[in-house]
Amino acid sequence: MLGFLILLAVLVPIFAPYNVVQSWNDPGAWTNNPKLAAPEWSEVFTGKHLPRTALMPYNGEPGGFDKVRISFNVSNQVYTTVVLRSSFSFQADAFPSEIKMFMTTVFGNVTGTQIKVFWGRPDGQEIHIFDANPSVRAPYENTFSLTGPTIKDPSYAVYNSIRDWLILKNVTSETEWDALFPRIGGIYQNPPKAQTMLMGKLDHSILDPQTSEVLKGNYSFRIEFNGFTATDDANARAVVYGTVFGLAGTDFEGRDLLVALLWGAPVALAFGIAGALASVLIQTILGAISGWYGGLIDEFVQRTADFYLIIPTLPILILLGILYHLGIVLILIVLVVFGIVGATTKVVRSIVLQVKEEQFIEAARSYGASRGRILFRYILPRVMPYTFALIALTVPAFIFLEASLSFLGLGDPMLPTWGHILGDAYGQGALFASRAFPNGMWWWVFFPAAGIIFTTVAFALLGYAFDKVLNPRLREQ
């Protein structure tokens, strides 16, 4: 187990470079991923072929939109028309989670620059989904959702277009639609699920998301841009978001959880091992000094240890986290500072009290070895085996602490640690079953929790193995 973890810790930085981690907190970096998607392999349990994400990049990139741009002059007025087209094949058994379109536009100061979006279906139908006016200029993107109202689209243009289309095709009537999707003050109380209609078979079942059947085949986008200066231009890309993603799914920002899971291993290992090594070694040396020199030093170290033992470290860390927003290195330093004396000091002192009465210590004293030499050459080597076991058993404590802090949102905000993911998941209610996620967002909780458990169990087993080797009572003669 440990070998696997260490291998992982070594390999992860090679396969997933650190800049992936750096972009973790940049929402723009994850716009091409579906949000809250389960792992791809989870379709084994559903028995359905679940949709992957389809990307249609900008014109000019491989596989991107086709683009035709015409600029012409009619009675001193320049008109520029750009037509963008793209299509994708959809073969999954379930509807995508979201369909989005992004446009960069160049336009003059004339109001009325217009975008028209048409949606082509495999059955030959074409729906004029909405018209819109671009609001931002290149290089920034105008974002349009084809599956739900955007903030800029309070009139529910998508729903209205679908309604008009369905009434035109005699699939439904105005009264039925209004009964199914009532509006109060123009606002849908129970908005239709647009993708089930845009991509469903054209019959009466299309009205209900539960009964709507997926129409497989090639879908297409057609976008018309009409501008009023010679320099006007437009480009578009579109994303049909799936419901599954990668090996570990995604979170509410569409971030690939695999990255965080993999990076959690080296972070947890480094944090746990560094913390355990530092605190246990310091405690061991102080405990040995306390036991060996005795007297006032002993009294001082032991009373300090008593004092430290009653200081509740977690609340103090929480307080510090709230006040200062500690990075992971600072958390580690605080933990070590609050752990320079503690239980290990006492354990080691008691071992040293035993060892120092042994004959070979007296022998060493008799041939004139100095106290320091006896401490480091005679006593510490005897204590070290126990210390190794203690280190191995302390690593899980540190990993848990870091996870708890991250879970509470007080860990390093920049690093995707296991505890951090769990904290996000908890904050987003990942474990509550909902209509969209009848089993909750289990992948969001399960994998980081499994990572923590795997690591701590690995170290606990290592500690017990050490214990078996080193504890005289458990040792086989």
């Binding site: 060493a364 041939y367 004139g368 030499r373």
Partner: protein, 406 residues
């Protein structure tokens, strides 16, 4: 000139029960090449004497006095650092009781033997290792022993390693603290022969601490008999072992089982005295078969012995009936008789009981006078002081000898 001259060495420990007189005024001298065997029962202060010589003191030392003259210098005057540099291991080294535990289990034997070298002379590792191998060779161990860990060695081998370690700085005096006590007889013999050989080749003086009289007679030129923190007899081995002067030595020798002898080994009744409160006078008087007037019985001891007589089968009917006894000072006690008859009669009965029984129960010899008072009888005991170590080369501390001498 003696290589080691110890004069009035005292080492008392502080305990909750009071001071423990572990080493109480011990003096002896050791000529170069000589071996003195310190023999005594467990807890008599032999090892404490060795520790006092090497100044290996625990924390609870109460008194540490006397003179230890090593090579003409009084090393008791040295401060800790000087003592460490001059005496420990360079001048006087020690082989500890239980060699099994005297080796650091985490260091290889070679490193262990070289430790004193590295501590004292700061020699580099390779040279120290070479010298360690040489030292191991001297005690009959092969060079590859140096690469082993202590737990890989047998008891005899470990003992040899410990001896090699004691010899590596070429000291003049080696203290052997029961060097063979945990070994079987064959190995004991081997080690003793090795020690004899080393004594001649390395010109060593030994202080050989043991409770094994046989081994002591093998190795020793001088014998010091230790009892209750004091030397009761010091003399040449041939003399002490053949014709002991002190009654304790005699009893000790009689307790050794003999091959081809029907007689059961003798033993000494009672237990060694409590060193927190050593008996006055001669410390052996309580258990001595020949104790007499001057041996130093005190009133509390006398009372205890009388109480013993009151319950002993042989005497319980003949002891005059006593109601109460109280000590009044160290030498006087008051006895209140059971009220039948006059006090004077009781005093008479007591006197005649003492006269009849004093050869069997020798504490009765310490009674100087019995006086009848109004209600009680006052018994006065002989005063006494600890007997001095008397004699020239062969000294013993017993009033019997002092009496014979004067």
């Amino acid at each position: 000139m003696p290589v080691l001259d110890i004069k009035n060495l005292i080492l008392w420990y502080r305990t909750r029960k009071g001071p423990v007189h572990a080493v109480d005024d011990i003096s002896f001298a050791l000529e170069p090449g000589q071996t003195i065997a310190l023999v005594g029962e467990s807890g008599s202060g032999k090892t404490s004497t060795a520790n006092a010589i090497l100044r290996l003191l625990p924390k609870n030392v109460l008194r540490y006095e006397g003179k230890v003259v090593f090579d003409g210098q009084d090393v008791m005057e040295f401060d800790t650092e000087e003592f460490r540099k001059v005496v420990r291991w360079r001048g006087i080294s020690m082989v500890f009781q239980g060699a099994m535990n005297s080796l650091n289990p985490t260091i290889r034997v070679g490193g262990q033997v070289a430790e004193p070298l590295m501590v004292h002379y700061d020699v580099d590792r390779d040279e120290a290792a070479d010298q360690a191998i040489e030292a191991l060779g001297k005690v009959g161990l092969s060079a590859d022993t140096a690469r082993r860990f202590p737990f890989e060695l047998s008891g005899g081998m470990k003992q040899r390693v410990v001896i090699a370690m004691a010899l590596i700085l070429k000291p003049k005096v080696v203290i052997l603290d029961e060097p063979t006590s945990a070994l079987d007889v064959m190995t004991q013999t081997n080690i003793i022969n090795l020690l004899k050989e080393l004594k001649n080749t390395e010109h060593l003086s030994y202080i050989f601490i043991t409770h094994d009289l046989g081994l002591a007679s093998e190795l020793a030129d001088l014998v010091g008999i230790v009892y209750a923190g004091q030397l009761v007899e010091v003399g040449p081995a041939e003399g002490v072992f053949v014709k002991p002067k002190h009654p304790y030595t005699g009893k000790l020798l009689a307790s050794v089982p003999r091959l081809r002898s029907e007689a059961a080994p003798d033993f000494i009744p009672g237990a060694p005295p409590d060193l927190t409160d050593p008996p006055p006078g001669c410390r052996f008087h309580l258990r001595c078969p020949v104790s007499f007037e001057k041996c130093g019985w005190s009133a509390p001891e006398f009372i205890e012995q009388v109480r013993l007589l009151q319950i002993l089968e042989e005497t319980k009917n003949t002891v005059p009936a006593i109601e109460a006894m109280t000590a009044k000072g160290a030498q006087n006690l008051l006895i209140k008789p059971v009220a039948n008859g006059t006090v004077a009669e009781f005093a008479q009965r007591l006197t005649s009981f003492i006269a009849q029984n004093q050869e069997t129960y020798r504490f009765l010899k310490s009674v100087e006078s019995v006086q009848a008072k109004t209600k009680v009888v006052e018994v006065k005991l002989y005063e006494s002081t600890p007997p001095p170590l008397l004699g020239g080369d062969w000294r013993a501390s017993c009033w019997l000898l002092a009496g014979a001498g004067s």
